[in-house]
Symmetry: C2
Subunit: 343 residues, 2 copies
């Protein structure tokens, strides 16, 4: 909008853009396309123009900085409460700072769709929160040239090393869940792992192993079942554990959906929760409190992670040193009714 | 942004704004404040300037129409899957049309916060989806003067008559749920109503009564318990129903959260679901499939409602006749394991 507080004065802007067009040996219309993230510009040309725009200080006078008063949060999947917690957290910080929140669904756990980068550049947000483990290098380069800050909220726990990221203390959460069951007196404790390529699931299982080892309990590989972070994985793995001759008296499910699957497995085998088997989840999603009995679980600080990510964007825009490090926010055990001492 | 495809040419814009300032007898800075939704302008002045801006056709050349390529969806509560379904639906239609989705939490079930209108006017979205039953008249006037279209997705079912709105066929859903229980052989069927001021809950209970009457069954007021659309209401109302001497063999809970409360009431009274009591919910949220046993419920077409709302915004912008009527999308019964014939 030409009269927004973020816009440039028309004449100065035009002169600056003309200078960039001349130096880049392209037309004004090409410069305009680059500015607005529209297609029809070769990648090298786009990079050259973006670099020049940044160099001539267009960013200080122009539309590029501080960007529209919008933070954009990008998800590969928008289908559960888990995403809602992140939306709430990012939205709260955006609102506190007078900004709106754009919610985008795009791509996979590892990268957004190819066309996303053009859309986001045309929107010129204040900053971007990516709920994925990395961005393609070309996307990073373009965002950096345009000085649009970005941060990863990293659910799978395998963040790119050159981008600031926020994650949960997954290992410690697995440790807490297992220590809780050990403290209740359980000695045979099963675990449902997560998908192979999701590092946070591995971290939770590592925490489980560490707790057993610290307590001097043997780690029996039969007690570690593969999972998929969905109900199905909990049902299959839970059935395998609970049907076995030397069945465990407790199961740590590494996420709440899998815990629901273990409930279903127990129900199908006529085992009572928690009298016959204790179950502990991970995430503390709303439905974990609705199950019968309500689920003991590890609180995943999703709301806080998104707030922290938005705060990092504010820090970058304010010129504060942020670094590219990963930071982890603490998890905490929520004891409800699905865990008691063994019979 | 001065170079966005939606912006105005600097000189023409300035001349137009100067003319508006002169006619309104205000400064250019006041016109600019009005345009950008910034504070410090008296309400009458703001209204006069907005009307003039619209009259001089600023909207055709300027930043106001067609607005930023963003649809804004406004919720009073952003805390459950219910909201997520609406976000997914609106987001899908926005994306299909090359637009982003702004998700805002503001105000109550009946109106957004007072400051919201200034924020949204500064954002100049393509259109607005309000997940509430009405907007204050002054907000409607301002949005209409700025030609920003808006539509209600009306969860509580009591829409303003002068705004297009999209709702679910709640009465029919209540009818279907109860007919299902009658067809299974139940003759004493309890119901947990919803909050007094939420018309959709009343519609669902009316559908329940209509089903009983159609089947020639008496409507016993002892079988109608008040509710709150939360677990607590289902627990309290469910306990009252299931403790009574002549307890019902089935309960229709009017929403899924209350159904979970009835599960808890049954569990506390050592009654089995569905062997001792059948339970039917309403909404078909994800967790209704996670409960033990999975819940029979009425699918609430939230995703489709938000898609329809976004489509109405597109129609209004395209100049298609839309009208201010309410439209209802159909509900459908999803039979799972919580409902069987009476013992």
């Amino acid at each position: 909008m030409s009269d927004s507080p973020h816009s440039t004065d028309g004449d100065t802007s035009r002169a600056t853009l003309a200078r960039v067009a001349e130096q880049a040996a392209v037309s004004m219309s090409t410069v305009s396309k680059v500015l607005n993230g529209r297609p029809g510009v070769a990648a090298e040309t786009r990079a050259r123009v973006e670099t020049l725009l940044s160099e001539v200080g267009y960013t200080r006078r122009g539309a590029v900085v501080p960007g529209a008063p919008l933070i954009e949060i990008v998800f590969s999947e928008l289908d559960n409460e888990w995403a809602m917690e992140l939306i709430r957290g990012a939205g709260a910080t955006a609102k506190l700072n007078g900004m709106g929140l754009i919610v985008t669904q795009s791509g996979t756990r590892h990268a957004p769709d190819p066309e996303w980068i053009d859309e986001v550049i045309s929107r010129q947000p204040f900053g971007i929160i990516l709920v994925m483990s990395d961005l393609p290098p070309a996307n990073k380069d373009r965002l950096r040239r345009l000085q649009i800050p970005f941060v990863l909220v990293d659910p799978s726990g395998n963040p790119a090393p050159d981008v600031p990221s926020v994650a949960a203390a997954n290992w410690d959460g697995g440790l807490q869940a297992t220590n809780h069951l050990i403290a209740l007196g359980h000695r045979r404790i099963g675990v449902i792992a997560g998908p192979h390529d999701v590092m946070c699931a591995r971290a939770r299982v590592s925490g489980y192993r560490a707790a057993l080892e610290s307590a001097g309990l043997p780690v029996d590989d039969d007690l570690v079942q593969p999972g998929d972070f969905h109900i199905e994985g909990g049902l299959v793995g839970g059935t395998a554990l609970l049907e076995s001759r030397d069945r465990p008296t407790a199961v740590f499910a590494t996420n709440d959906l899998q815990a629901i699957g273990v409930y279903q497995a127990a129900r199908a085998l006529n085992l009572r929760v928690p009298e016959d088997v204790s179950i502990v989840g991970f995430d503390d999603l709303q439905f974990s409190n609705f199950s019968s009995p309500p689920l003991t679980t590890v609180h995943n600080p999703l709301y806080e992670m998104a707030r922290e990510a938005a705060r990092i964007l504010l820090d970058i825009r304010a010129g504060s040193p942020v670094g590219t490090g990963r930071r982890e926010l603490g998890t905490s055990l929520v004891v409800r009714e699905s865990s008691v001492g063994p019979a």
